[in-house]
Symmetry: C2
Subunit: 83 residues, 2 copies
Protein backbone atom coordinates (compact mmCIF):
# COMPACT_ATOMS: atom_id res chain seq x y z
CA UNK A 1 0.00 0.00 0.00
CA UNK A 2 3.08 2.16 0.18
CA UNK A 3 6.01 1.95 -2.13
CA UNK A 4 9.61 2.47 -1.14
CA UNK A 5 11.16 5.64 -2.57
CA UNK A 6 14.78 6.01 -1.55
CA UNK A 7 16.40 7.34 -4.69
CA UNK A 8 15.50 9.83 -7.42
CA UNK A 9 15.40 6.97 -9.88
CA UNK A 10 13.01 4.94 -7.78
CA UNK A 11 10.80 7.96 -7.38
CA UNK A 12 10.98 8.68 -11.08
CA UNK A 13 9.94 5.22 -12.16
CA UNK A 14 7.11 5.17 -9.65
CA UNK A 15 5.86 8.47 -11.00
CA UNK A 16 6.01 7.08 -14.51
CA UNK A 17 4.10 3.96 -13.57
CA UNK A 18 1.45 5.95 -11.76
CA UNK A 19 1.08 8.34 -14.68
CA UNK A 20 0.74 5.55 -17.24
CA UNK A 21 -1.70 3.69 -15.11
CA UNK A 22 -3.87 6.79 -15.31
CA UNK A 23 -3.41 6.90 -19.07
CA UNK A 24 -1.83 10.36 -19.03
CA UNK A 25 0.94 11.75 -21.19
CA UNK A 26 3.81 13.71 -19.67
CA UNK A 27 2.22 16.82 -21.10
CA UNK A 28 -1.07 16.10 -19.38
CA UNK A 29 0.57 15.41 -16.07
CA UNK A 30 2.59 18.58 -16.51
CA UNK A 31 -0.57 20.61 -17.00
CA UNK A 32 -2.14 19.23 -13.87
CA UNK A 33 0.99 19.87 -11.86
CA UNK A 34 1.77 23.26 -13.36
CA UNK A 35 4.97 22.03 -14.95
CA UNK A 36 6.33 21.51 -18.44
CA UNK A 37 6.56 18.20 -20.24
CA UNK A 38 10.33 18.43 -20.24
CA UNK A 39 10.34 18.74 -16.48
CA UNK A 40 8.22 15.63 -16.09
CA UNK A 41 10.60 13.82 -18.38
CA UNK A 42 13.56 14.76 -16.23
CA UNK A 43 11.84 13.66 -13.06
CA UNK A 44 10.85 10.30 -14.50
CA UNK A 45 14.39 9.63 -15.64
CA UNK A 46 15.65 10.19 -12.12
CA UNK A 47 17.08 13.69 -12.07
CA UNK A 48 18.59 13.91 -8.57
CA UNK A 49 18.52 17.70 -8.39
CA UNK A 50 14.81 18.15 -8.89
CA UNK A 51 13.35 20.64 -6.47
CA UNK A 52 11.39 19.27 -3.57
CA UNK A 53 8.39 21.47 -4.33
CA UNK A 54 8.43 20.19 -7.88
CA UNK A 55 8.10 16.51 -7.08
CA UNK A 56 5.54 17.31 -4.43
CA UNK A 57 3.48 19.08 -7.08
CA UNK A 58 3.75 16.03 -9.33
CA UNK A 59 2.70 13.68 -6.55
CA UNK A 60 -0.28 15.87 -5.71
CA UNK A 61 -1.35 15.87 -9.35
CA UNK A 62 -1.24 12.09 -9.25
CA UNK A 63 -3.10 12.04 -5.96
CA UNK A 64 -0.11 10.49 -4.29
CA UNK A 65 1.89 11.54 -1.26
CA UNK A 66 5.12 10.87 0.54
CA UNK A 67 5.15 9.26 3.93
CA UNK A 68 8.13 9.37 6.17
CA UNK A 69 8.98 6.14 7.92
CA UNK A 70 11.82 4.22 9.48
CA UNK A 71 13.93 2.36 6.98
CA UNK A 72 12.68 -1.15 6.74
CA UNK A 73 14.64 -4.15 5.63
CA UNK A 74 11.43 -6.06 5.33
CA UNK A 75 9.07 -6.31 2.41
CA UNK A 76 9.03 -3.24 0.15
CA UNK A 77 5.24 -3.21 0.38
CA UNK A 78 2.91 -4.13 -2.41
CA UNK A 79 3.03 -2.57 -5.81
CA UNK A 80 -0.23 -3.63 -7.40
CA UNK A 81 -2.69 -1.35 -5.72
CA UNK A 82 -1.57 2.09 -6.77
CA UNK A 83 0.68 2.04 -9.80
Amino acid sequence: MAELARTPRQIGSLVRRARKRRGWSQTQLGEKAGLRQETISLIETGNPATRLETILAVLAALDLEFRLAARSKGQPADIEALF
Copy 2:
Protein backbone atom coordinates in the same frame (compact mmCIF):
# COMPACT_ATOMS: atom_id res chain seq x y z
CA MET B 1 4.33 4.03 11.69
CA ALA B 2 4.52 6.37 8.74
CA GLU B 3 4.15 10.09 8.89
CA LEU B 4 2.46 12.20 6.28
CA ALA B 5 4.87 14.46 4.37
CA ARG B 6 3.07 16.59 1.80
CA THR B 7 4.83 19.91 2.11
CA PRO B 8 8.41 21.11 2.57
CA ARG B 9 7.43 22.49 5.96
CA GLN B 10 5.96 19.20 7.12
CA ILE B 11 9.06 17.42 5.96
CA GLY B 12 11.27 19.97 7.65
CA SER B 13 9.59 19.71 11.01
CA LEU B 14 9.64 15.93 10.85
CA VAL B 15 13.35 16.01 10.12
CA ARG B 16 13.88 18.31 13.06
CA ARG B 17 11.91 16.10 15.40
CA ALA B 18 13.75 13.01 14.26
CA ARG B 19 17.10 14.73 14.66
CA LYS B 20 16.34 15.99 18.15
CA ARG B 21 14.99 12.66 19.21
CA ARG B 22 18.41 11.29 18.35
CA GLY B 23 20.07 14.08 20.31
CA TRP B 24 22.00 15.40 17.33
CA SER B 25 22.84 18.97 16.44
CA GLN B 26 22.34 20.26 12.91
CA THR B 27 26.10 20.12 12.49
CA GLN B 28 26.20 16.46 13.47
CA LEU B 29 23.38 15.56 11.15
CA GLY B 30 25.10 17.51 8.41
CA GLU B 31 28.29 15.53 8.90
CA LYS B 32 26.45 12.25 8.65
CA ALA B 33 24.60 13.38 5.54
CA GLY B 34 27.54 15.07 3.88
CA LEU B 35 25.96 18.49 4.13
CA ARG B 36 26.58 21.75 5.92
CA GLN B 37 24.82 22.91 9.06
CA GLU B 38 23.28 25.82 7.12
CA THR B 39 21.74 23.41 4.68
CA ILE B 40 20.13 21.40 7.45
CA SER B 41 18.79 24.63 8.89
CA LEU B 42 17.16 25.56 5.60
CA ILE B 43 15.60 22.14 5.21
CA GLU B 44 14.18 22.15 8.71
CA THR B 45 12.62 25.56 8.18
CA GLY B 46 10.83 24.27 5.12
CA ASN B 47 12.81 25.51 2.15
CA PRO B 48 10.67 24.39 -0.82
CA ALA B 49 13.50 24.43 -3.33
CA THR B 50 15.73 21.94 -1.60
CA ARG B 51 17.15 19.40 -3.98
CA LEU B 52 15.64 15.96 -3.94
CA GLU B 53 19.02 14.29 -3.49
CA THR B 54 19.68 16.54 -0.54
CA ILE B 55 16.64 15.60 1.50
CA LEU B 56 17.15 11.95 0.59
CA ALA B 57 20.65 12.18 2.01
CA VAL B 58 19.27 13.67 5.20
CA LEU B 59 16.65 10.97 5.53
CA ALA B 60 19.24 8.26 5.01
CA ALA B 61 21.43 9.78 7.72
CA LEU B 62 18.44 9.63 10.05
CA ASP B 63 17.70 6.09 8.97
CA LEU B 64 14.40 7.22 7.54
CA GLU B 65 12.89 6.85 4.11
CA PHE B 66 10.09 8.12 1.94
CA ARG B 67 7.26 5.86 0.92
CA LEU B 68 4.96 6.70 -1.90
CA ALA B 69 1.30 6.07 -1.29
CA ALA B 70 -2.16 7.14 -2.32
CA ARG B 71 -3.34 10.26 -0.60
CA SER B 72 -5.35 9.29 2.41
CA LYS B 73 -8.02 11.39 4.02
CA GLY B 74 -7.91 9.07 6.98
CA GLN B 75 -5.69 9.18 10.00
CA PRO B 76 -2.27 10.76 9.48
CA ALA B 77 -0.67 7.71 11.07
CA ASP B 78 1.03 7.66 14.42
CA ILE B 79 3.75 9.99 15.44
CA GLU B 80 5.16 8.47 18.59
CA ALA B 81 7.17 5.62 17.27
CA LEU B 82 9.80 7.29 15.14
CA PHE B 83 10.21 10.95 15.89
